[in-house]
């Protein structure tokens, strides 16, 4: 690249062609103030605060939009520049309202900062304050547009970064404001309250609403969002040991300056009054607060008793896809060496083990194959069984950006209308649970029409002939009959996907949470292999994960069959390595999966259980049964931040610290390892999960050699493949940005990828006449998981206080139910009461309910139907009916 040399404040500096003066100045350590510029946004040159002078011709230039040209002589702080800058800022101040004095933006206001840096005292110009403001009733953010300086950062953030387009300039001249359609309050617009615009607004025009979280920040900590699998980098602002504000982090390879409503406004669960601050022991059916000493003695004694009486095999442990890698690592070592059992699994299994098994058997690699940033090179993106706008918003943003800004074609397969439907080039709506048939149909078209990447198939894959043979019956007519998607649509989608030179696949729990999930994952891998889309930037398979550390928990070996790093417990050599390091002999037979643990507990084969950060009463199917089983145990210990439905059943409850109170790492859906950093001290006497386990091991007489987190991380680095240098951020960056990704260069771990013939099997538990509706479950944007944390985030709760069941209008009319009416949703195993919400996103016969309301346990409706291969229960769809609730006589008119 050609270097261009300019003189900047009397010094010669060089940059490259196309670089702006501002960029070069920043690189050379020269500060130029800016108000409308941000690295993530297209520069507009709206505010002119960044102006500089070109000495050659005396021109004043907005440095953020002016590219460098050779031999320019630029002054960034000459008297003339400073004077002009002052005038510009003064003009802004003249239209600023008096409430500036008491503005909560305070020291964070960039306008005030710049004014004081420029030494602006009194403004001698006549003041003409803008008098506009909008009342908002949403609990998240507040707009006082009288403080707006029209920098358009919010508008650009909304259009370019999160691609909602809720706001744009409205009117012209002095009355211009950034406004929603019809200038309505934000809650009546497309706004999703992601908070991205709030974080970027340089003035007090856009601000967080709830003043109890206001005030001047004392310290800030860069860490990782604890909610979804995107793993956005966030920055916690702390005052008086309270997290008062969350803004997008600066090291943000995933989120690029954005967040979603959960990240921005959901983290106050950390300071919830419901947090457990002392260990609890149950005596005569009530919990008593006790000291750590006493609690740990009780736990140690309890486990010892069960182990001595019934053997190690009667103990089981659940790790957590919400806790850090280190927590999970220490937990599985504890389970295997101290308790002596492989009966350890994690909650993530319920949502993503179909991915691990399906991808592993096809690709030999059990996770997302590419980084999210690669998607920028895709030509086509196929999204199936995922609503990333709700479940993984940062991925949703990336997809929408690709469509809007680079004309990428989005192919959507989803029975339900989602936020992506509007962006889709083609949208197929198959019958629920028929994905495998549809995918086979697509593969057949690709082969029949000769659209496959023959060289890739021949050189890199295996088992093609058998696969081709297995597709024989999947003719367009047959597939159309099963899926309800027309042959024309199938043809169109197959051609678009196969003809693209780079095509990515994104899938989520709509695929994995069905009993046939593993098959569908395999079928997706087949498609990618057929077209050579593995090992290519812009291609690949993105397996979304529900929770922040779903991948990490599995990587760390909270799995019954695998030691850390997917090293089989049956493999004597692998076992030997761990035995040597841990100085203990390890059980060789595979342990039980979560659901098998429950089954065995029902048969009284499992008598003691240790649950860390999971809430099976709400997250497993058939909550009634799970409650019975857990109650019948001899000894149950739950380690959590809150007294969850599961914790209530425990003999001892140990208070765990939140993500904001500990150090460690999370692994996001891409496999990217991000740092979790401590922002505040653990609340009350709560402790980081790993520390609790270490103390417990001590009490049980098998001390673990971890006196600090560093001890844990070095052991992980030593023993877990692909975590070799994981605490070294530089090495991690290299991995993420370098050319040598995981399956790049078309290399597979086993040398070959393997086609797996998949048969479409109709789902267990099809519709029956008693239960005419198919209920789909999923995530809503404003809540998360089982709602344990999000229901304790005040603002999320205020905005979306109640569970609901979505139904299409014609079904609602048929049942004579109205919007907002309470109804019962009844399945073969349970029932819940909830509120009707009429929605045009569903078709006839479909219902949708979110998972995350603890008062309305949707899982109560599900029966335990296992996915035969991964032993993952189906939690995605089941058959139900809706019953009206008769109005009591007295209330009738």
């Amino acid at each position: 690249m050609q270097a261009i040399t300019i003189t900047l404040d009397g010094r010669e500096v060089s940059g490259y062609l196309g670089m702006t003066i501002l960029e070069l100045a920043k690189e050379s350590g020269v500060e130029i103030p800016t108000l409308c510029h941000d690295n993530h946004l297209t520069p507009t040159g709206a505010c002119r605060v960044c102006l500089v002078e070109n000495e050659q011709n005396g021109a004043l230039l907005a440095s953020c939009v002016t590219p460098i040209a050779s031999e320019m002589v630029i002054n960034t702080h000459s008297p003339r520049v400073t004077e002009s800058r002052k005038t510009i800022v003064k003009l802004m101040l003249t239209s600023h309202p008096d409430s500036c004095l008491v503005c909560d933006k305070g020291n964070r206001c960039q306008l005030r900062q710049i004014a004081s840096d420029l030494g602006i005292g009194l403004v001698e110009l006549q003041r003409i304050p803008r008098m506009t403001s909008t009342e908002e009733v949403n609990p998240f953010l507040e707009r006082d547009l009288s403080k707006c300086i029209l920098c358009a950062k919010c508008i650009r953030a909304c259009q370019e970064l999160v691609v909602e387009g809720a706001i744009d300039y409205f009117q012209r001249g002095f009355t211009t404001i950034p406004a929603t359609l019809d200038n309505l309050p934000l809650e009546n617009s497309e706004c999703t309250f992601c908070g991205t615009c709030v974080a970027l607004c340089p003035t007090g025009a856009l601000m967080e609403k709830d003043r109890t979280y206001g005030g001047t920040t004392k310290s800030t900590t860069e860490t990782t969002c604890p909610f979804c699998g995107c793993g956005c980098s966030i920055c916690l602002e702390v005052k008086d040991s309270k997290v008062v504000r969350v803004i997008p982090g600066k090291e943000d390879p995933v989120n690029h300056g954005t967040l979603c409503v959960r990240g921005s406004y959901g983290c106050d669960f950390v300071n919830s009054p419901d947090r457990l601050t002392k260990p609890l022991v149950k005596r005569n059916d009530t919990f008593e607060e006790v000291s750590w000493q006493e609690a740990l003695e009780q736990v140690a004694a309890g486990f010892k008793r069960v182990k001595d009486e019934q053997g190690s095999g009667s103990l089981a442990v659940l790790g957590s896809s919400k806790c850090t890698n280190e927590d999970n690592y220490v937990l599985q070592r504890f389970a295997r060496t101290v308790l002596g059992t492989n009966n350890i699994d994690n909650g993530g299994r319920l949502y993503n083990s179909a991915s691990r098994v399906g991808l592993r058997s096809s690709l030999g690699f059990s996770g997302t194959t590419n980084y999210l940033s690669d998607m920028e090179q895709s030509e086509v993106i196929l999204v199936i069984g995922a609503d990333p706008n709700s479940s993984a918003p940062a991925v949703g943003y990336a997809i929408k950006r690709a469509v809007k800004q680079r004309g990428v074609k989005l192919l959507l397969i989803d029975p339900r209308q989602t936020g992506l439907s509007l962006f889709a080039h083609l949208w197929l709506r198959p019958e629920i649970g028929t994905d495998a048939a549809l995918l086979n149909g697509l593969a057949k078209v690709i082969i029949d029409e000769g659209l496959l990447d023959e060289e890739f198939v021949a050189r890199r894959t295996d088992n093609f002939e058998a696969f081709k043979e297995s597709l024989r019956s999947y003719t367009l007519e047959y597939v159309e009959k099963i899926t309800g998607v027309t042959g024309q649509e199938i043809l169109a989608l197959a051609r678009l996907y196969a003809k693209a030179s780079q095509a990515a696949i994104v899938y989520g729990t709509g695929i994995t949470q069905h009993t046939t999930g593993t098959d569908s994952v395999g079928a997706l891998a087949n498609l990618a292999l057929l077209t050579g889309n593995i090992g290519r930037k812009g291609g690949g398979i993105y397996a979304l994960q529900r929770e922040n550390n779903g991948q990490g928990a599995c990587d760390m070996g909270t799995l019954p069959k695998f030691l850390p790093g997917y090293q089989s417990v049956a493999d004597a050599q692998a076992r030997g390595r761990f035995e040597k390091c841990w100085g203990a002999s390890l059980p060789a037979e595979a342990g039980l999966t979560t659901l098998e643990i429950m089954e065995q507990a029902e048969k009284e084969k499992i008598k003691g259980m240790y649950i860390m950060g999971e809430n099976p009463v709400l997250s497993f199917p058939n909550s009634r049964l799970v409650t019975e089983i857990l109650t019948s145990l001899d000894f149950l210990v739950v380690q959590d931040m809150f007294l969850t439905a599961t914790a209530r059943l425990a003999n001892v409850v140990l208070p765990a610290a939140s993500f904001a109170e500990k150090e460690g790492t999370f692994t996001n859906f891409e496999g990217r390892i991000s740092k979790v950093r401590k922002a505040i001290e653990p609340l009350g006497e709560s402790l980081p999960d790993w520390e609790i386990i270490v103390r417990l091991a001590d009490k049980m007489g098998y001390p673990l050699p971890f006196s600090s987190l560093r001890d844990v991380t070095s052991e992980i680095e030593k023993l877990v493949p692909s975590y070799e240098d994981y605490t070294d951020s530089e090495k991690q960056d290299e991995l993420a940005y370098g050319e040598t990704g995981r399956t790049y260069d078309r290399q597979f771990l086993k040398g070959f990828a393997r086609f797996s013939p998949i048969e479409y099997v109709p789902q267990v538990g099809q519709r029956k006449s008693d239960y005419p509706f198919t209920l789909l479950t999923g995530t809503t944007l404003y809540h998360f998981g089982t709602g344990n944390r999000s229901s304790r985030a005040c603002r999320l709760r205020k905005f979306s206080p109640q569970s609901f069941v979505e139904i299409c209008e014609s079904d609602a009319r048929k049942l004579a139910v109205t919007d907002g009416e309470e109804v019962k949703v009844v399945s073969a195993v349970g029932e819940v009461t909830t509120m009707v919400k009429i929605s045009d996103t569903l078709r006839k016969g479909m219902l949708f309910m979110p998972f995350s309301f603890p008062e309305t346990p949707v899982n109560a409706l599900f029966d335990i139907v296992l996915n035969p291969e991964t032993k993952e229960p189906s939690l995605k769809a089941c058959s139900v009916r809706i019953e009206k609730i008769p109005v009591p006589l007295g209330e009738r008119l």
């Binding site: 259009q159 909602e164 387009g165 809720a166 706001i167 744009d168 300039y169 409205f170 009117q171 012209r172 406004a179 929603t180 359609l181 019809d182 617009s189 497309e190 809007k404 509007l422």
Partner: protein, 162 residues
């Protein structure tokens, strides 16, 4: 305030037809808006969503553009647009009174359109014929040297407001 006339299914179909002529060409927004306005006399708010989808824009962006240009309207306009001059020359010669009288005759305020869609009333800052002040314009026709009597003649068919 007058209400936009009810948009029928046929109107929506027509809007769709117009939008589809321009579909997916981002730069076609202004000509498209002009054409819609030609057909309907204004830009019905219902059309904004169709336009946005058709061109791959956000609805708020479409609104932003419409609200930026004085020549684009989101309210129906009267068959006769009356513009009363509020420029300095007209002001000193009683423009204010003329405006008041016109309001009384037409029974609408500035920026409004009469319910029968006959008149829209606007003001303007100097139309460049100060010599004839006070002035008002109906359609393309300038009426100079206005006085109460002339106003009365112009709008005779409208009843005087009580």
């Amino acid at each position: 305030m007058n209400k936009a006339k009810k948009i029928t299914k046929a109107d929506l179909a027509q809007m769709n037809a117009i939008v589809s002529e321009y579909s997916q060409q981002k730069w076609a927004l202004i000509p498209l808006l002009q054409q819609i306005q030609r057909e309907f006399g204004y830009i019905p708010p219902q059309s904004m969503l169709l336009i946005a989808r058709g061109l791959g824009l956000f609805t708020s962006q479409v609104q932003g553009v419409i609200s930026f240009y004085t020549q684009l309207y989101t309210q129906p306009r009267g068959r006769n647009v009356v513009r009363v001059c509020r420029g300095t020359a007209c002001h000193v010669r009683g423009g204010k009174t003329i405006l008041k009288l016109v309001k009384q005759h037409l029974r609408i305020e500035e920026g409004e359109t009469s319910p029968d869609l006959e008149y829209t009333l606007e003001t303007v800052a100097c139309i460049g014929v100060c010599a004839l002040a006070p002035n008002l314009v109906v359609g393309d026709h300038v009426h100079g040297h206005m006085n109460p009597k002339k106003v009365e003649q112009l709008f005779r068919n409208r009843e005087v407001r009580e």
